[in-house]
C-alpha cells in the first residue's frame, strides 16, 4: 500500500483503527506516520456512512481504500454496496466511476464466533458491478491489492485473518497480478480441487499428503471470484475428470454452488463423478474451539472427500501433523 500511495497521491486509506498502534493486524503499519492523517485516518463507527463517503470521494477523483477489521461489519454497509457503489457506473451511462477498494478481514478462531467470522464473498459476488478478490498467498496479496487499487471499478478485497501468518517470497518492488486470473497452486492430474482463501492452505496440505501415496491433486485458486474466469478450472477438470470445490464459506447459494454448476455444465460428459462441495457447516459459527472444529472443514475433510470420490482406501493419517491454529496462536486474545 505504501508503494501505491507514493505512486498515486489520490490513494488514501481509512477505517476503524487504521492508524492506531495495532494497525489492523499490522497491515496498515507506518502509513499514518508516512502519509499523515490526511491520507490514513480513523473514522467514527459508522460503516454505512463511511462507505458512502468512499464512494463520494471516488466520484470526485480520489481512490479510497476502506478497511473493515471484520467482514461481519460490512452488512452495515450493504446498502451502499448493493444499491449505490455497484451500479453508479452503469446507471449513470458511464458518467461516473467508483474506483474504491474495500478490504474486509475474515475472522477465525479463539472464539470469534458468528459475528466475527463471516466471509460473505458469494453475497458480494452475486451483485453485478463489484469485483471480488480473495488472495491466498502473500505474493498474490500484494500483486492483487495493487491491481485492485489501480482498477477503475469497486473491488471487495477479502483477507483471511490466518493468512497474515502466511510466509512467502514477496518482491520488494511493486507488481500487479491481473484481477480475473486464477492460479494453479499445485499441479496434479488425478483430481481438481478448487479452493478459496484459507481453504487453499488446507487443500495444499491435503495434496501434499495424498501426493505421498501417489494421488496427484491439482489445487486451483481462482483468486478473483467475480467476475470469474473459469477457464483454468474447466481445463483442469477436463484433464482430471474429478472436481471438488472447497470454499471458505457456507455452501448453500454460495460460490461453491456456482463453480459446481459451471463445471457440471461445461464438463458435461467428461466428469467421472459428481462435483463435491466442501464448506462451512450449515450453522452459525460457534465460539468454542471444539465446536469450531466441527464448523470448519479442513485438510482431513478434503482428503476423505477425495478418497471417496476416487474410490480409494482411506489414508492412515495417524501421526500426521496438520496445520493447527492452536499450535501457532496461543491466547489470550
Amino acid at each position: 500500500m505504501i508503494q501505491e500511495m507514493e505512486r498515486d497521491p489520490r490513494v488514501f486509506v481509512y477505517g476503524l483503527g487504521v492508524p492506531d498502534h495495532k494497525a489492523v493486524f499490522g497491515s496498515t503499519a507506518g502509513l499514518a506516520e508516512r502519509f499523515g492523517k490526511e491520507r490514513c485516518f480513523d473514522t467514527p463507527l459508522s460503516e454505512d456512512a463511511m462507505t458512502g463517503f468512499g464512494l463520494g470521494a471516488a466520484l470526485n477523483g480520489m481512490r479510497p481504500i476502506h478497511v473493515h477489521i471484520r467482514v461481519d461489519f460490512m452488512p452495515l454497509a450493504f446498502n451502499q454496496l448493493a444499491n449505490m457503489i455497484s451500479c453508479c457506473h452503469y446507471a449513470s451511462g458511464g458518467q461516473l466511476a467508483a474506483p474504491i477498494v474495500i478490504r474486509g478481514i475474515v475472522g477465525r478462531g479463539w472464539g470469534q464466533g458468528f459475528q466475527h467470522s463471516k466471509s460473505m464473498h458469494a453475497t458480494f459476488a452475486h451483485i453485478p458491478g463489484l469485483k471480488v478478490v480473495l488472495p491466498t498467498t502473500a505474493y498474490d496479496a500484494k500483486g492483487l491489492l495493487i491491481s485492485a487499487i489501480r482498477d477503475d471499478n469497486p473491488v471487495v478485497f477479502l483477507e483471511h485473518r490466518w493468512l497474515y501468518w502466511q510466509e512467502g517470497e514477496v518482491p520488494e518492488e511493486p507488481y500487479t497480478i491481473p484481477l480475473g486470473e486464477g492460479r494453479i497452486l499445485r499441479e496434479g492430474s488425478d483430481i481438481t480441487v478448487v479452493a478459496t482463501s484459507w481453504m487453499n492452505v488446507e487443500a495444499v496440505t491435503a495434496a501434499d499428503i495424498l501426493g505421498r501415496r501417489g494421488i496427484s491433486v491439482e489445487v486451483i485458486d481462482p483468486r478473483t471470484i467475480a467476475p470469474l474466469n473459469d477457464e483454468l478450472i474447466i481445463r483442469s477438470v477436463e484433464k482430471t475428470g474429478y472436481c471438488i470445490v472447497a470454499d471458505n464459506d457456507w455452501s448453500f447459494c454460495g460460490f461453491s454452488a456456482e463453480v459446481a454448476a459451471q463445471v457440471a455444465a461445461k464438463c458435461f460428459g467428461k466428469l467421472r463423478a459428481p462435483v463435491r462441495r466442501i464448506g462451512f457447516a450449515p450453522t452459525h459459527c460457534p465460539t468454542a474451539r471444539h465446536l469450531e472444529n466441527e464448523f470448519y472443514p479442513n485438510a482431513e475433510d478434503i482428503i476423505r472427500e477425495i478418497e471417496e470420490v476416487l474410490g480409494v482406501e482411506p489414508t492412515d493419517l495417524a501421526g500426521i501433523e496438520f496445520y493447527s491454529h492452536e499450535k501457532r496462536f496461543k491466547g489470550p486474545f
Binding site: 454505512d48 456512512a49 470526485n60 449505490m84 446507471a91 458511464g94
Partner: protein, 321 residues
C-alpha cells in the same frame, strides 16, 4: 438586484414549465418512469442552486426534477432521459429517479432514501483535499432524517469540517406519513444545532429569501469551515408519486394546499418583478424563451430514437466500454 431576481425567476419558471410539460405528455405513456414531482419546492431548490453556482456540486433524490434543471438548465438531457432516448447520456438507464449530469456538477440522485448523504460528504472531502473551493449541496426530504445514515453523515461532516450543505426539503410528509408520526423530537433544526455546523431555517416560498439565506450560508462556511444544515419548508402540491392531486385520500386537507398556493413561488416572484418595475412585456419575453426552450427539448426527445437495446448490457464495469 433586479437582474438577480429576473434570473431567479427565469430558473423558477424553467423548472415549473418543464414539469408542466411532463404533466401534459405523461398520460401518453411514453415516459415510462415513476414521476415524483417538484411542484411547490421550486424556490427552495432554485434559491440554493443559484447561490451554489456552476462550480458547486449537487446530489439529489428521486424527487429532483427541480434540482436537475436548476443546476444544469439542460432540458434536452432531462427530457431525452425521461423518454429513454439515444440522445441521453444515461441512455434510459436512469429515468426520472436517477438523473445525473456530473459535467454540470449534478452528481447524481438516489431512490434509496438518505443513501446519497454520505456520498455527498465524501465528495466534499475530496473537494477539501483537492482545495478546489467547490461546495457540495445534498438535497433530501424530511423523511430522510429518520435514517441512521443521516446522523452518521452529519456527524462525519461536522467532525471533518467538510464543505457540504445538507438541505432538507421539508414538506412535512414521507409519502403519507407526517413528521410528527416519525419523530421523537420536537424540532429538527434544534437537534442539529447541537452539532458543530451552521444551521438555517426558512419556510419562505420567496426565492430571493432562500437565495439570500443560501448565499449567507456559503459565506459563513467559507469563513468558518464547517458543514451547513438548512431546513427549508415547502408544500408538496401533488401526490407522492404521479401527476395528480390527492387531497381526497384524506391524509391532508385541500385548504392547506390552498394556503400555500397563495404564496406559490413562481407567482410570488413574478409579482415581485412587476413590483420592482420589470415590465409585463419583459416577463412575457422571458417566459416565451423558456417555453420555446422546453418545447424544443420535448420535441427533440420525442423525435430521437430510443436508446439501443444493447445499452442494457453495457457498462457494468468500466473497462467494459
Amino acid at each position: 438586484m433586479r437582474e438577480l431576481n429576473k434570473e431567479l425567476y427565469r430558473k423558477l419558471y424553467l423548472v415549473r414549465r418543464a414539469e408542466e410539460k411532463i404533466c401534459v405528455h405523461y398520460p401518453e405513456d411514453d415516459m415510462k418512469t415513476p414521476m415524483h414531482m417538484s411542484f411547490g419546492e421550486e424556490a427552495v431548490v432554485v434559491g440554493v442552486c443559484h447561490a451554489l453556482g456552476d462550480a458547486g456540486q449537487v446530489f439529489g433524490t428521486y424527487r429532483s426534477h427541480a434540482a436537475f434543471i436548476a443546476k444544469t438548465e439542460d432540458t434536452d438531457e432531462f427530457f431525452s432521459e425521461l423518454y429513454a432516448k439515444e440522445t441521453s447520456s444515461l441512455k434510459g438507464k436512469g429515468g426520472s429517479m436517477h438523473l445525473c449530469s456530473p459535467r454540470h456538477g449534478f452528481m447524481g440522485t438516489s431512490a434509496i432514501v438518505a443513501s446519497h448523504l454520505s456520498v455527498a460528504a465524501g465528495a466534499a472531502f475530496a473537494n477539501k483535499r483537492q482545495k478546489n473551493g467547490k461546495i457540495v449541496a445534498a438535497f433530501f426530504g424530511d423523511g430522510a432524517v429518520d435514517e441512521g445514515v443521516f446522523w452518521e453523515s452529519l456527524n462525519a461532516a461536522c467532525l471533518m469540517k467538510l464543505p457540504v450543505i445538507f438541505v432538507c426539503e421539508d414538506n412535512g410528509f414521507a409519502v403519507h406519513t407526517p413528521a410528527t408520526a416519525r419523530r421523537g423530537y420536537a424540532s429538527l433544526p434544534r437537534v442539529v444545532s447541537t452539532f458543530d455546523c451552521h444551521v438555517f431555517e426558512s419556510d419562505s416560498t420567496d426565492v430571493e429569501v432562500v437565495h439570500a439565506l443560501a448565499a449567507d450560508a456559503l459565506q459563513r462556511m467559507r469563513k468558518e469551515e464547517k458543514p451547513c444544515f438548512m431546513n427549508l419548508k415547502y408544500y408538496r402540491y401533488l401526490e407522492h408519486v404521479g401527476i395528480n392531486y390527492d387531497f381526497e385520500a384524506g391524509y391532508r386537507p385541500r385548504n392547506e394546499f390552498e394556503q400555500w398556493y397563495e404564496k406559490d413561488p413562481v407567482r410570488v416572484q413574478r409579482a415581485k418583478l412587476l413590483r420592482l418595475g420589470v415590465g409585463e412585456d419583459e416577463l412575457l419575453r422571458i417566459e416565451a424563451e423558456v417555453d420555446a426552450k422546453v418545447s424544443r427539448s420535448v420535441a427533440l426527445a420525442q423525435q430521437a430514437p430510443l436508446s439501443h437495446c444493447s445499452e442494457a448490457h453495457n457498462g457494468v464495469f468500466k473497462c467494459d466500454r
